[in-house]
Amino acid sequence: MALLTPYSKVPELNTATVLLVENEEELQSKLANAIVQYEKHFNVNVRLARKLPLPVENKETRPRIDLIVFIVNLLSERSLQSVESSLAHLHSDCFLGKVCFLVTDARCGSHTQERLVSVRKLAASHQCPVLCAEHRTAEGVNAAAVRLLNILKVTAGMSPIATTALYLSSLTRCSVTSDLDED
């Protein structure tokens, strides 16, 4: 099975690549535009996908992916399910700091709260950070883009202070507190 591995390719100079995986393809393009607009100091490649595994045809031309962002829309059940199935196609080394979860619509109702809890549990089991984003306004998209860029800089090795992706993910990983567990 072709797994997405983190370190199988040589990184390019002054470039970072982020892969946005979203089932609904709503936020992907907006976020991609915002990210590319924001970053002036180095090149950012944004690749979009609906789910993993990525198509085999592009395998050779695809650059090394520094950060994989799973976008989960909490209003639809299938979003979370597709993310869960995509997670199986990732090499386990990816979870050492190269995966991040982005949830949208976290405030819109009771079902979203349950799904948010399950996303957080999923993220906590893989020890990855969870970001909440608001995708309906431009400011929300820009804010999400800035946050992702911060994480991307670290995972691509652009941060000159001694921060590595693993370290950052240990700091920012999602933790599920005990009262969530007792729910």
Binding site: N14, F42, S92, P160, L166
Partner: protein, 269 residues
């Protein structure tokens, strides 16, 4: 991996012609690092293809990765990028400025957090004070209720005695006030009042034994309370007529329906 991109940015900055030598040095170092990177990458690819699918527990994986990274950091010694002072100056300036702005952000952020916490503290303190007051009030009420509930017969008796005494005191004070008021405002008619000699003489005889208004009222109340089946008091010459008339007209006393010389205290509800 880390030095390569940052050196690129430095190269963009050092555009002065006198820095060509420094640029060359930097480029060389970049090439060196890139060669190292390629070597490492090849090793990784080999290792990957050999030990693939080692998808054991993620936590174990993480532990191994973290400990190996820790060892790396402990071994690594900090070294300068290059010994060229201009490069170092440029890099240093940029770094310090960035650090400065980041620290300013951190400062304002922590200030805001501090203010928020202080507000919360104040609010919680006022809440606590209110709750303490409520607690005190409730405790007092509890002790009061407990005391009341602990009534034995003895204390009921004591309560009753106390109440009776209070009422007696009140009653006596009322009586005192009443007699004072009556003595002040309704005195016995003056034997040396105005009038002709003749009237005076006639009146004087009749007024020797006049009783005061308080005496009249006393007689009426005593008759009513003691012999309630026959509360009538016979008026005679000892009753000064104006006073009886006043009592009758003000509704304090009424006549007997058949005998006009008898009066009694009016019912009060």
């Amino acid at each position: 991996m880390t030095p390569a991109p940052s050196k690129q940015t430095e190269m963009d900055q050092d555009s002065q012609p006198s820095e060509v030598a420094a640029k060359a040095v930097l480029l060389e170092e970049c090439e060196e690092q890139f060669g190292l990177l390629q070597k490492l990458q090849n090793e990784i690819i080999l290792a990957d293809t050999e030990a693939n699918d080692d998808q054991s527990n993620e936590a174990v994986n993480r532990l191994i990765a973290v400990t190996s990274e820790l060892e790396q950091w402990q071994e690594m010694e900090p070294k300068l990028l290059t010994t060229s002072p201009d490069v170092l100056l440029a890099v240093g300036k940029e770094e310090l400025q960035r650090l400065n702005s980041q620290l300013k952000m951190v400062l304002s952020c922590s200030q805001a957090k501090l203010d928020a916490q202080e507000k919360i503290l104040k609010r919680e303190q006022t809440w606590q004070a209110e709750k303490k007051e409520a607690l005190n009030a409730v405790c007092e009420k509890i002790t009061r209720l407990q005391r009341e509930n602990e009534k034995s017969e003895h204390s009921v008796l004591q309560d009753m005695k106390r109440k009776i005494n209070n009422l007696k005191d009140y009653h006596s004070s009322l009586m005192e006030m009443l007699s004072d008021m009556l003595a002040e405002h309704f005195p016995l008619p003056d034997p040396q009042g105005n009038g002709t000699k003749k009237k005076r003489a006639a009146a004087y005889d009749a007024e020797i034994n006049l009783i005061s208004l308080s005496e009249i009222i006393e007689r009426l109340t005593n008759k009513t309370l003691e012999t309630s089946h026959d509360p009538y008091v016979t008026t005679d010459d000892t009753f000064w007529p104006p006073y009886t008339e006043m009592l009758l007209r003000n509704g304090i006393a009424t006549r007997h329906p058949e005998d006009c010389n008898k009066i009694r205290l009016e019912n009060f509800f």
